[in-house]
């Protein structure tokens, strides 16, 4: 229970970063944290029904649920790909406008066009 409350806390911190931070790199930090919180929730809860890693050994034991783990492999990779693209866009915006501040960037681009 405490763990899930902490995860909710982590998720909201990430969301706060995405929503309220002006610096676009900080926004990307927030997106990463948001993603990590969702991944941790899946793994944490999938662990509740077993005690062994899902690699079958000779002895019979209850393994944890492998499905959330397989799904989260995909989710982690997609998260990193999106982060990479977001950073490339951010650097490009910085090269155009000379700023990381989202409002400054918006103003400078509007002035230009």
């Amino acid at each position: 229970m405490v763990e899930r409350a902490l995860l909710l806390c982590l998720l909201l911190i990430g969301f706060w970063g995405v929503v309220a931070k002006k610096n676009i790199i900080k926004k990307i930090f927030g997106l990463n944290i948001l993603n990590a919180a969702a991944v941790m929730l899946f793994i944490l809860e999938g662990n509740r029904i077993g005690s062994e890693a899902p690699i079958l050994e000779s002895g019979l034991a209850q393994v944890v649920d492998p499905i959330p783990q397989a799904l989260m492999l995909t989710a982690i990779v997609i998260g990193v790909c999106v982060t990479a693209l977001a950073l490339a866009l951010a650097v490009h915006l910085y090269q155009i406008t000379g700023s990381f501040d989202i409002e400054t960037i918006r103003e400078r681009i509007q002035d230009e066009t």
């Binding site: 902490l6 970063g17 005690s51 951010a90």
Partner: protein, 79 residues
């Protein structure tokens, strides 16, 4: 144990978003990735742990550092 790790992760997350120096933020973020890799290992998810360590702490840190090297380290308005 998991609770302690999660508390550390939450604290690092707050630091990541509030630090003035973006490079410190990147390092805190890769620390979060490492801690969560340990967490996944404890939670019987070795595959996810390896992926998180390789991708989260490795590749994404490289990209973040590249991005910051191409721009500026300081968060100007800090808000």
């Amino acid at each position: 144990m998991t609770t302690i790790l999660l508390i550390l992760i939450v604290l690092l997350a707050v630091y990541t978003l509030s630090s003035k120096d973006l490079l410190h933020g990147v390092i805190a973020l890769s620390a979060i990735s490492l801690l969560s890799a340990i967490l996944f290992y404890i939670l019987q998810a070795p595959d996810v742990a390896i992926t998180e360590a390789a991708v989260g702490a490795g590749v994404s840190t490289v990209i973040f550092v590249w991005a910051i090297r191409h721009s500026q380290r300081k968060d100007d308005n800090h808000g």
